[in-house]
């Protein structure tokens, strides 16, 4: 009996030893699998199409939100959307990025850029090579672009106009529209016309003195400097209309820094956390927002449609809406939940 026990002990030991070796082998194989799984390609999926996304200011929250939406929709549709130039070590102009996209044989290009002859030429070259081009935000009307995705700027002007009209009182109010030099004769002009016509049609032309002031954003930090200079004047306008997100943010900040909150009403454009806080604190009267998510979706749908059917809807307008003191809390809640602030609320 005792001998048997010992023999079993020996056998058990042998089994344990062998099992230990097998376990070791398994563990090594597992480790090998884990370390081999580091795929340098990152993701590893293949795409049906490569789309280039070009925008003038890669830091602009509006277009960053449009890109995020486009990328998401693209992923769902099997398209890779590349934010051209954002990760490159060299800073390229939108025209150069357009050129690179054409030379790289992209399957489609989404471009947000100021209107220029060279851009028109490049867009034409792309279209001639069979690459569909969607103009985003600013319509490149003089080019062969396949479609435009953006808001109707005249109606944006009308929206601003309706807000200005609501501020009318007994005294004549000075209204200054901050326009950028680069966008002379384009969207900002159309918005300006929209504002002017709305005030006129409301019969309140004599109540408002509407002027345009150009801010220089051709240099780095130029916009901020121009707005600080404006806010530093003895007499500042009664109403300031900002047509850019950067300008809106700078105007709010300058007003607070110079302790002139309450001396002017600012209506801004687009939205970010600072802008939402400014509305909440009463620094900013309101802001006009474009639906970035829909813009991104339309861009991809347009390009996919072109690749599949060869035809597209040339004009794809997106809605705008106003955030003011009445509804700002909803957007702050959304921003907290989403940390995005670009979610639309169709009007």
């Amino acid at each position: 009996m005792k001998k048997d026990t010992k023999r079993y002990g020996t056998y058990i030991t042998l089994i344990v030893l062998i099992s230990a070796n097998i376990l070791l082998g398994f563990f090594l194989i597992r480790m090998r699998t884990v370390t081999n799984s580091g795929d340098p390609a990152g993701g590893g999926r293949t795409y049906d199409a490569r789309y280039a996304f070009i925008c003038e200011d890669s830091e602009d929250d509006l277009y960053a939100a449009v890109y995020d939406s486009a990328k998401l929709v693209g992923e769902e549709n099997g398209d890779y959307v590349e934010f051209m130039g954002r990760d490159l070590s060299v800073i390229y102009s939108p025209e150069d990025l357009m050129d690179a996209s054409v030379e790289a044989g992209m399957d489609g290009i989404i471009v947000e850029s100021a209107v220029s002859d060279r851009m028109n030429e490049l867009i034409d070259r792309a279209v001639d090579k069979g690459i569909p081009v969607v103009a985003l935000g600013t319509d490149q009307t003089a080019s062969k672009r396949n479609a435009y995705v953006g808001c109707a700027y005249y109606s944006v002007g009308q929206t601003f106009g309706s807000r200005i009209v609501s501020l009318s009182g007994d005294e004549v109010k000075n209204v200054t529209v901050l326009m950028t030099k680069e966008k002379e004769n384009s969207n900002h002009d159309i918005i300006f016309s929209g504002i002017k016509n709305y005030i006129e049609s409301a019969g309140l032309s004599q109540n408002f003195s509407l002027t345009a002031e150009f801010i220089d954003d051709s240099q780095p930090y130029g916009a901020e400097e121009s707005i600080s200079a404006l806010m530093g004047r003895d007499e500042i306008p009664d109403v300031i209309i900002c047509l850019q997100e950067t300008a809106t943010t700078c105007a709010c900040q300058s007003l607070v820094d110079m302790n002139r909150v309450g001396e002017t009403d600012i209506i801004g454009f687009y939205v970010n956390d600072t802008i939402l806080s400014a509305i909440k604190d009463g620094v900013l009267l309101g802001t006009v927002v474009m639906d970035a998510e829909t813009m991104g979706k339309y861009c991809i749908e347009t390009l996919d449609n072109f690749r599949e059917n060869g035809v597209v809807n040339e004009y794809m307008p997106v809605n705008t809406y106003v955030i003011d003191g009445n509804n700002v809390d909803d957007f702050i809640e959304e921003a907290v939940g989403d940390n995005d602030g670009t979610k639309s609320a169709d009007q």
Binding site: K6, Y92, A100
Partner: protein, 443 residues
């Protein structure tokens, strides 16, 4: 057919202890070796992987370098129209394309795949412009080759930017892989230590079990028995006695005495000779009780001659019991003790009484003296195996009581075979040896 158990037994029969121990150590060492080899193999392959981690970066660098060389030779050709430069241009173009192919493969799918595709398409554009520039230069169409060169240079800038971006993407992915390998080395270190400790412990368990099987209790007892006998023999040698020489010498003396008519001297020498002959004749551990008694007779006779008849020696032996086998040298040391510690120099007639009787399944051998007696503590000490002072008397033969007790226990496989009784000071001592009858002996 032979079953596994039968086979094992067969192997056991044919393998000596040394072979079996060697087998055990070889098996365990082989196991340790296997574990170490496994670890070594893994480490080696990880080292190799570590070496190739940044291969994609190396390829991207080489791609960039080839592009530079290709563009340099294009510029040189356009400047000098040398045929060498044109040859270089085409050579570097081939090298560049082959590197590009390699880079695309290394990039796989996903974002880096798209980047590589961009580079591939841009490269096609570049080569188209560059080839056209070369063709225009050969055709001396100045305006055209300048235009094409400018286009090529423009695209070159984009390619360089993209290669740089791809390289940094590779680097970041490779760094992750590198981190992974480092992590697996750390894991491996812990694993190795754990495994080696585990294997060592298991090996020890294995060795203990196997050697335990080899060294069975029976064998162990035999070995201890032999060891004690050796000790006994050694004690004789320590006494610097050469039993053969002494025995022969004593015999010669006995014969001489007889021839000269000195009968008592002759008898004495014969007894002494018989005493020493006993050790020589009894080479193994077994003897008969009668032989042991005869040895005691010889010993007492010698003592009586030496000490002028001090000892009154009596025997009460049942002769029918003395044919029982017993371990050698178990009675004489006790008698020696009885004389040295009991009756020597007591100033009265010393008595030693040896009796053998049968009690149930045992024979009881009693050696009783009328000497100094013993305290119960001393008896206790002696029986528990700590008789420091018991055996080493100056003229004793050196085989102590402890040795007798040990050999009795080993021989019969049980304890309590020796007992000592004394009624106190000067009341003598009686030592009992209980010998199991042959059918009782459990060996």
């Amino acid at each position: 057919m032979m079953g596994p158990r039968a086979l094992t037994n067969k192997i056991k029969e044919h393998m000596g202890v040394q072979s079996r121990l060697t087998l055990v150590f070889v098996v365990t060492m082989l196991f340790v070796l296997a574990v170490n080899f496994n670890i070594y193999f893994f480490m080696n392959s990880e080292f190799e992987r570590g070496n190739s981690v940044y291969m994609s970066n190396v390829t991207a660098d080489a791609l960039s370098e080839d592009l530079k060389l290709m563009h340099g030779s294009l510029e040189e050709y356009l400047n000098t129209k040398s045929s060498d430069a044109m040859g270089d241009y085409y050579k570097y173009q081939q090298e560049y394309l082959s590197k590009l192919d390699e880079t695309v493969k290394l990039s796989g799918a996903g974002e880096t795949g798209v980047l590589a595709e961009n580079i591939e398409e841009l490269s096609k554009s570049y080569i188209r412009y560059a080839d056209e520039a070369v063709a225009a230069k050969r055709g001396r169409i100045v305006e055209r080759y300048r235009e094409m060169y400018v286009d090529a240079e423009r695209v070159l800038g984009y390619i360089n930017s993209y290669i740089y971006l791809l390289n940094s993407r590779f680097f970041s992915a490779n760094s992750e892989t590198h981190e992974g390998i480092r992590g697996s080395f750390n894991d491996l270190e812990i694993l190795s230590i754990t495994m080696l400790v585990m294997v060592s412990v298991l090996n020890i368990v294995f060795i203990v079990l196997i050697t335990g099987n080899i060294m069975s209790p029976v064998k162990e007892r035999e070995m201890m028995m032999a060891s004690h006998l050796k000790e006994t023999e050694l004690k004789y040698l320590q006494a610097q006695i050469n039993p053969h020489f002494l025995f022969n010498t004593l015999n010669a003396g006995a014969q001489l005495s007889m021839m000269e008519g000195a009968d008592r001297t002759g008898e004495y020498l014969q007894n002494v000779a018989a005493f020493y002959r006993y050790r020589i004749r009894k080479g193994n551990e077994d003897t008969l009780l009668s032989d042991e008694i005869q040895l005691v007779d010889n010993y007492v006779y010698i003592l009586n001659v030496r000490f002028s008849g001090e000892i009154s020696y009596e025997k009460d032996v049942d002769d029918s019991l003395t044919a029982t086998p017993v371990p050698v040298m178990i009675l004489q040391p006790i008698v020696e003790n009885a004389f040295n510690h009991g009756i020597r120099d007591i100033g009265r007639q010393g008595e030693i009484r040896l009796s053998v009787s049968g009690e149930g399944n045992e024979l009881v051998v009693s050696i009783k003296d009328n000497g100094r007696g013993m305290d119960p503590e001393v008896i206790e000490k002696m029986l528990s195996g700590n008789p420091e002072e018991v055996s080493e008397s100056s003229d004793g033969n050196g085989v102590g009581l402890k040795n007798v007790i040990s050999r009795l226990e080993l021989y019969y496989g049980k304890s309590g075979l020796l007992n000592i009784r004394s009624d106190g000071k000067d009341k003598g001592t009686e030592v009992f040896i209980y010998i199991p009858r042959p059918e009782e002996k459990d060996v």
